[in-house]
Structures are given as C-alpha cells and as structure tokens.
C-alpha cells in the first residue's frame, strides 16, 4: 500500500499534468488496497486468495466543463495519460451547471480505523483459526460455510485549490452459516472489526452453530402481524434503507420518504420513537470511520435522528450551495442507540407474551420509497416466543413492512445495546407489530 508521501506524490504529479494540459480546477484521488480472503463450504476450504490494486482518478474542469478518468497504473507515463484524458473529455463536455470549486486546505481529524495486522494476514494463523471453526462444526454435526476477509487500503486526495488528505483504513470480517445434517436447521452469525486481531471467530462460530442446532424441525405458522424481537443483525439488514433516505435534495424534490406535502420536507417532525437516536461519528471508538465525506468535507458527529425527531438531512456541497448553507459533515457511518439504558435481548423475550425472535433478514428490497416499505424474508434462525420464553423454531416468513411504521413512536417497545456490523452500530429492537405476508419453505 502507498505511504502518505508516495500517494500524495502521485496526486501532485497528476495535478501538475492536468494544469499543464489546461485544467482550471482539478481533484485527484489515489487508493491502494490489499485484500485477502478464505471461503469454506461443506466443512472444507473452497477458495482462498489475495488481490492488490490501485485506483487513480483525475477529475478536471475547464470553463465549468467536467471530465473524469480512472486508471490503475501508477507508472509515470500512465499518470500523464490519465490527466490528459480527463482534460480531453472536459473539452468536449457540456458546461456542468452543478460545478462547485474544489476544496481548499482543510484540517482533518486523525483516522482511527486502521490496524497493520489486518493488512498483513498470517496465513498459518488464519488456517488454524478456520480449522477450529471446522472442528466446532463437526462436533455439533453441522455443515459449515464461512467467509473470512481482511482488507486494508490507503487513500489520498489532492485538489488544485490546495486540499491534501491521506487516510488508512482496514476491515476484517468473519461469517459462518451452519446447517444441520438433516437439512432442517440453519444458523448464521457474523462479526467485523478494523483490527483482525480483535475478530472473534470462535464466538461467531458458537453463535452460528447454536442457532443451527436450535432451529431444527421448524413448524409452519400462518403469516400475519406479530410482535417481534429483531437481533442486531436483523436490524442491520433493514437499516441501510433508512440510511440511504436522508438525502436533502431528494427530499426537497418531493421524491423521498422525508418529503412532505406542499413541497416541504419532514425535518423537525417526530417520526420515530422518542428513545431513538441515529447519528454518524468518525471518532466512535468501536466504529471509527475515515474522517472525511466522499466529497472531502471533514467529518464530525452528525445527528440525523434525535429523540425520535428527524434532525438533519444530508447536504452535498452543491445542494448546500444552492440553499446557502454548509454541507453536512457526514454521514460516514450510522450509530443507532437509545436515550435510555439498553434492554438485553433475553429481557425483551422475557417481556413478550407471544411473538417472533428474528436472527436476520435476507434479500431485502425497497418496494415503496414513500414509506421506506420493504420486502424480504427471515433466514437462519426464527423462533416462536410464548409467555416470555422461546417456544420452538418456525418456518421462514416473507415480510412486507415499512421502516417508518416499524420505528414509529408507538411501535418500538425496547432497544438493546448497539453492536458493530460495519458500517452500522445497531441495537436489538423489540417491536409491537411487524407484518408477514407469506411462508417460505426455505431452510
């Protein structure tokens, strides 16, 4: 991976070529990455590999005409070609009415989410860890399929107006699906961390294997509207659709769940349960993120939902300029937590008269952007709860459920402690009602 000096030198070189070719403004980004992975299935290794690559993008403007070119060759001649090509595209482009001059010099916080162990995977150590997972699967008489991944990258960016930034980040993840030998039970669990050394594959394997064993021989139930406890993984499977709904421009244009009648937005409305807070924070100790937005704005804590109120929408640099305000310093991650002390999942179950305990969702898709209405299915562990205890596993179900209704003031009964499932930190949720529309035969 490129050092700060090496990456910024490439940026400077491309900038100077762009300027020489006639660019009036320019932004250059450089990323180098190294990814290592191992896949297992049917209780054995299937594929394993590593890949290194670089990505260099030059975006230039001349007379507000924009051109952009990307390559993966950092040789001197290739850098000149890249800059020249971006300039030549700009020359034949129409005027870009949404041009905003590139950023000048800015201060960024120090990025925290990098561990060198993640960038340099010890192959024998990894194999030993995976062998322990396979042993746990064989002992429990389940068939394991797993994915172990570690990725590290270094990113730099520079603009013609003097912005310079360089960040390193890393991400390691492990997930296991365990299936019972009779094919009637399946369990899944996943975890991730920026530091490979802190990825607990043993704990993940225990959870997945336990779910597989406990979910065998599920009984069918008629679909309907039920109280539910969503484990953090199930919340993470849905929350991305909420996370992608905060764009201010879409809301202002009347085509988002946060658009209101009469051309307004729903900013300031108490749309969610009053205990719910959702924010972005690059300095979060458990989920540190690159301290800059995709556009290079220094990231800082940004509250999106505060005590159930829609507090902020996300403003790009262009849309902020149109509205004579500052662009938002994020989001760069999403942390959902309760204003009150968290409730443990066991306590949520204990307080449930009847309902479902849900491990995860699968193939979730947006069916109605007006309400963030989603469809998808339960997968890898679904249990019926009766009188405060888990009664028996049940067949998977398809749901059709609006996220706005799911998190509405009247529907959220308890909130757990947030868990890292990058790029989210999400809690378990106990909900009064969740709508299921059909049964699935899938295990």
């Amino acid at each position: 991976m490129f050092s700060r000096d090496a990456a910024l030198t490439i940026c400077e070189t491309v900038l100077s070529h762009a300027k020489a070719a006639g660019a009036e403004d320019a932004a250059v980004s450089v990323q180098s990455s190294l990814e290592s992975h191992a896949r297992m299935a049917a209780n054995r290794i299937t594929t394993s590999g590593r890949a290194e690559d670089v990505d260099i993008t030059a975006t230039v403007w001349m007379g507000r005409r924009r051109g952009s070119a990307t390559g993966n060759d950092s040789a001197a001649a290739a850098l000149k070609q890249l800059a020249d090509e971006a300039v030549q595209i700009a020359r034949v482009s129409p005027v870009h009415r949404e041009y905003v001059p590139t950023l000048g010099a800015l201060e960024y916080q120090e990025a925290g989410g990098f561990a060198s162990a993640t960038a340099d995977v010890d192959l024998d150590l990894r194999a030993a860890g995976l062998e322990a997972v396979l042993a746990a699967c064989r002992t429990a008489k389940v068939t394991g399929a797993a994915f172990h991944t570690a990725r590290a990258s270094a990113s730099a960016a520079a603009t013609a107006h003097g912005n310079r930034r360089y960040f390193r980040s890393s991400e390691a993840g492990f997930s296991l699906t365990a299936r019972s030998e009779d094919g009637t039970g399946s369990g899944y669990f996943a975890g991730d961390h920026f530091d490979l050394a802190r990825l607990d594959s043993r704990h993940i394997a225990e959870q997945a294997v336990g779910k597989a064993v406990r979910s065998r021989q599920p009984k069918p139930i008629e679909p309907g509207v039920f109280p539910v406890v969503l484990e953090p993984q199930a919340v993470a499977d849905l929350i991305g659709f909420l996370a992608s709904s905060f764009d201010a421009r879409t809301a202002d244009e009347g085509r988002s769940a946060f658009s209101a009648k009469g051309g307004k937005t729903r900013l300031g409305e108490k749309l969610f349960n009053e205990r719910i807070n959702l924010y972005s924070d690059p300095m979060h100790p458990d989920l540190p993120a690159v301290p800059a937005t995709g556009e290079g704005i220094p990231a800082s804590r940004l509250s999106l939902i505060k005590s159930g109120v829609l507090e902020n929408l996300e403003y790009s640099r262009f849309w902020a300029q149109e509205h004579k305000r500052e662009p938002t310093p994020g989001p760069v991650n999403y942390i959902m937590e309760s204003s009150q002390p968290p409730t443990a999942v066991d306590d949520m179950i204990e307080g449930m008269e009847r309902g479902l305990l849900i491990s995860r969702f699968w193939y979730v898709r947006l069916v109605d952007p007006r309400t963030i209405g989603l469809t998808g299915l339960t997968r890898d562990g679904l249990w019926w709860v009766e009188k405060g205890r888990i009664s028996h596993p049940v067949r998977n179900l398809r749901f059709n459920q609006s996220v706005l209704a799911m998190l509405a003031p009247w529907n959220v009964e308890a909130i757990g402690a947030p868990q890292r499932l990058s790029p989210f930190m999400v809690p378990a949720l106990k909900l009064a009602a969740f709508a299921f529309t059909s049964m699935s035969d899938a295990i």
């Binding site: 690559d53 009347g254 898709r365 997968r379 529309t437 699935s440 035969d441």
Partner: protein, 507 residues
C-alpha cells in the same frame, strides 16, 4: 461543444499492439512456469483489460462523463488439492513470479482445511481468439454524439406533461481477456457491451406523492448500433406517459389473479427462480453462507418436475447478443448450449470443470467466470432462456380466456428466498385484464409465488415473434461479492391463479 470530437488518446493508448500482446503472453508463461516449479498440479491465469465509458444525465444536463481502465492479472493454482489465488495490477514478470509464490503459499497454508481431492473434468486444449459481434465500436463514437442521445432522451420524456424528473445513463464496456493454462490453452477474447437505461419520475408536490418508471435491464453484448437502431426515443416518451398514468392510477386490489408476464419482467423471474436454483454449486452448499443453497438436490436431474410440460429452458453461452455469451469460459471451455428444463422436467445443471464430476459428468458446460482480473473465477450463470411455443401465439392470444387478470411489464422490486422457493416480484407497469382485454393501469402490485407452483401454473407461452432478450448487468454472487452480466430471452407467458399483493404503504 466541439462537434464530432473523439478523444484521441483513448484509441491510441488502450488498443493493444502486437508488442503488448507478446509481453502479456510472456508474463503468463512466467507465472505458469513458476507455479509449476513450486508444485502446482494445475494453474491458470487471466490477464484482462477492462475499459469503461460512462455518461449520466439528469433532466437537461450531463452529470458525468468518465472513462476508466483497469489492467491486471489473476493466477489460480491447485496444490495438494487446495486452491490458491493471487492477483496484482502489476503486469510484469517479477510481479507474475511473486503472484505464483503467493498463490502457492496460500494453497499450502490451507491444505489442513481440505477434505477431498479436487478433480477437474477433462477439457480440450484450445489455442484460439474470439470477438463478440458488434458493428460499431462504442469507443470510436464521438462523445458529443452520446451526450446528444442522452439529452434528447431526457427531453422527450420531459416533454410529457406531468413528468418531473428523468435520469439516464449509458455505459460501454470493453473486456479484453487473455487466458493461459498449465494444460496448454491460450485464448484471447474481446467482448463489447452497451448498457443504456433511464428512469422517469412524476411527483405531485401538493400531495407529497410520487411514482417512478424504470427502463433498465436492456444491456446487451453489442456495439453502438444498439443505441442507433433501437427506438429509444419512443421508449422514453412511453415511459413518460406511463409514469404520469401510474401516479394517477388506483391501487391494486390484492387477491389471486391469472397473470400474463411480459418478457421485460419474466426475464427476472427466470433469472431468480430458474437461473439461480440450477447452479450446481448452490445445490452442493458452496454458496450457503451468502446467496444460499437451492431447493433442488444434486440428484434431482431427470427426476424432478420443474414446471408444466410446455416449459423448456436452455442454458446458452452462445446466444446472440447475450450478456453471458462468450467464445470460451474462464477456464477455456468452449461455450455450450444445453437444456436445463425439458418438457417441464429438470434435466441438467450449470457446471464448471470442478463441478461436473460431482454429478457424474465428464465435461463442463462452461460456466466458470471471474468478473475482474482480481476476482477468483467460480460458477456463474449462463444466459438462461425460455423457449417460445412452436407456433405463433400472440399477446392477445394469452390474454384471451382471462376473466380477471393482470399484465405485468418491467422491473419493480424483486426478492426471493435463499433456496429459491418463495419470491415476490413487482412490475414497473401493471394493467388489468378483464374478459381477455387489456384495461386500466394499477399501482403497488407485486406477484408472489413459490417456484415449482409458479412454473406448474404456466399454461400459455408466446410464439417466436414475441420472443425478446432482456438481461441484468449486476447479478451478485460469491464472497468477496462478484457481479455478473447475464441475459434471459423469453416470450410473454401466462400463469394461473397467482397471489398478488398491494405493497403500497399509507402515506
């Protein structure tokens, strides 16, 4: 804008010369030799170059014009029964030797995790070149011709009263692939794809209501002639009228309906319920941790009824214009065409050299694919297509005899479970059928069924004149995730008594 201007460096820089080809072949030989010296019983390498040109417009302006190029090598080795893989963007002999050493080290470290010896089905030694069919190289068409196309498309849709927004994109992809294996195959291929798409939106600011109509999934393995020959402007005008009508239409009444599914939607039902369920790696549990398994068991071929007797589905990597069409797959197996479902019976799998022997087959159907030089090749879907009826059956013929039904066109949201049983598909445009006649549009409709029930309920399939090719350019599978482009040809078809939901929420 300068009229008719090509960006000259593009053609000059990225068209490989004979010297480039020789250098590439040399790097491949170095990597294979090093892998063999280190004890690999088999090795293959892909040295690929991907060029992309992307243009995007919203309303009356171009938002993005960009190009990208990516070049690199990916080496796969088999050592003591375990695979190892290493990829780098540095295509030179030193990096190739290092990649071989890394791939072998990975395979050796993982040997403790193997439980069976990998056996590859026999494959012919191939030395060949292949280029997809296209008349006009999109990369030689001036950029302003392309921007003019997008601007006219948007203008046409915006001219329809009530249309609030239009976004459109066009992407051109040029894959130049070189394959070499330790068994002596040496194959150079080139594929050119063209991906136009657009979305119209109607928003009623007073009520806060809005609807969209997407026109996507029309990507094909063709050149710029696709942009010039197809009536895109007529499609844009139609999409404008349809989104306005959709915003005013009434919500569907949920219930059971006879449905006729247009190729623009049926292709996706085929993709999800047939394409994925008949991947042998899924049935063997190899994808259990992500995409899932299959309701089909490895022993089901020739034993299990998949649909009604009129249903015939073929896997076909030779289909003209098909996104998954190729000369040879990513381990050098010649493109194949074979029945997956014949007369309603499930008869065969999608296979690779590693998979075929596991169901007793001597030859692979040629489904190995890597989406990039940096990706591990694995089993990916070929074009899977529904054969038309032998005689001419029109859309009206399919409507006739339906008392209360729906006609479903285009792509809405789609979702299917991890064994490919339970699915729910929305359409972009859904209209009522009453007493055999097409009627008013309805909104918020999605049909939901179970794969074997759905295909068993098929009692009408359109004839050859109604056959259309659609395709998806972003089919996800695997870990790390890979994207595949794949086409599905089909006529419209009729399905009896299918559950239809109203997916609209309260505003």
């Amino acid at each position: 804008m300068i009229a008719g201007t090509c960006v000259p460096v593009w053609a000059d820089v990225y068209q490989p010369t004979p010297a480039d080809d020789a250098a590439r072949a040399e790097v491949a030989e170095v990597a294979l030799a090093r892998a063999a010296a280190l004890g690999a019983s088999y090795a293959d390498i892909r040295i690929n170059r991907y060029r992309r040109e992307s243009l995007a417009a919203r309303e009356r302006q171009i938002q993005n014009m960009s190009r990208s190029m990516s070049y690199g090598l990916g080496l796969r080795v088999l050592v003591n029964g375990a695979w190892g893989f290493s990829a780098t963007n540095r295509v030179e002999p030193g990096a190739a030797r290092a990649a071989a050493e890394q791939a072998v080290a990975i395979a050796r470290a993982n040997a403790v995790l193997t439980s069976r010896k990998i056996v590859l089905a026999d494959a012919d030694r191939v030395v060949s070149t292949w280029t997809s069919a296209f008349r006009r190289d999109p990369f030689e068409v001036p950029l302003d011709t392309k921007t003019a196309f997008l601007m006219k498309l948007n203008e046409t849709a915006l001219a329809v009263p009530g249309v609030s927004f239009v976004s459109s994109q066009i992407l051109f992809v040029d894959e130049q692939k070189y394959f070499a294996s330790s068994e002596g195959s040496r194959i150079a291929q080139r594929m050119v794809r063209t991906y136009p798409q657009f979305t119209t939106t109607a928003a009623d600011r007073a009520s806060g209501d809005f609807q969209t109509r997407v026109v996507v999934d029309r990507a094909q393995l063709v050149g710029y002639e696709y942009v010039e020959d197809y009536p895109w402007q007529r499609e844009a005008e139609r999409a404008g009228h349809e989104v306005v009508e959709k915003l005013k239409s009434r919500p569907v009444a949920p219930g059971r309906y006879d449905i006729v599914v247009d190729p623009s939607q049926l292709f996706l039902a085929i993709h999800e319920s047939v394409g994925h369920s008949t991947e042998l790696d899924r049935a063997l549990g190899w994808e259990a941790n992500m995409a899932g398994t299959s309701f089909l068991e490895p022993s089901d071929a020739w034993k299990l009824r998949f649909g009604s007797a009129i249903v015939n589905l073929v896997g076909d990597r030779t289909q003209p214009r098909g996104l998954a069409t190729t000369g040879f797959d990513d381990e050098g197996v010649k493109a194949d065409r074979w029945h997956i479902v014949r007369d309603g019976m499930f008869v065969d799998w999608q296979t690779t050299r590693e998979l075929a022997p596991l169901v007793g087959q001597e030859r692979s159907h040629g489904c190995l694919h890597a989406d990039h030089w940096s990706s591990v090749p694995f089993a990916r879907m070929p074009n899977v297509s529904l054969e038309p009826a032998a005689s001419e059956v029109s859309l009206d013929d399919l409507f006739s005899g339906i008392k209360r039904g729906l006609f479903v066109e285009g792509r809405g949201s789609s979702s299917i479970d991890q064994q490919r049983y339970n699915f729910q598909f929305g359409g972009a445009v859904v209209r009522e059928i009453t007493n055999g006649k097409l009627g008013a549009m309805v909104r918020d409709a999605a049909y939901q069924s179970r794969t074997p029930d759905f295909w068993a309920s098929c009692d009408g399939i359109g004839g050859p004149a109604t056959y259309r090719l659609w395709g998806t350019s972003a089919d996800g599978k695997g870990e790390p995730g890979q994207i595949n482009a794949v086409s599905h040809g089909c006529p419209p078809a009729r399905f009896r008594q299918v559950t239809v939901l109203n997916t609209g929420g309260p505003l």
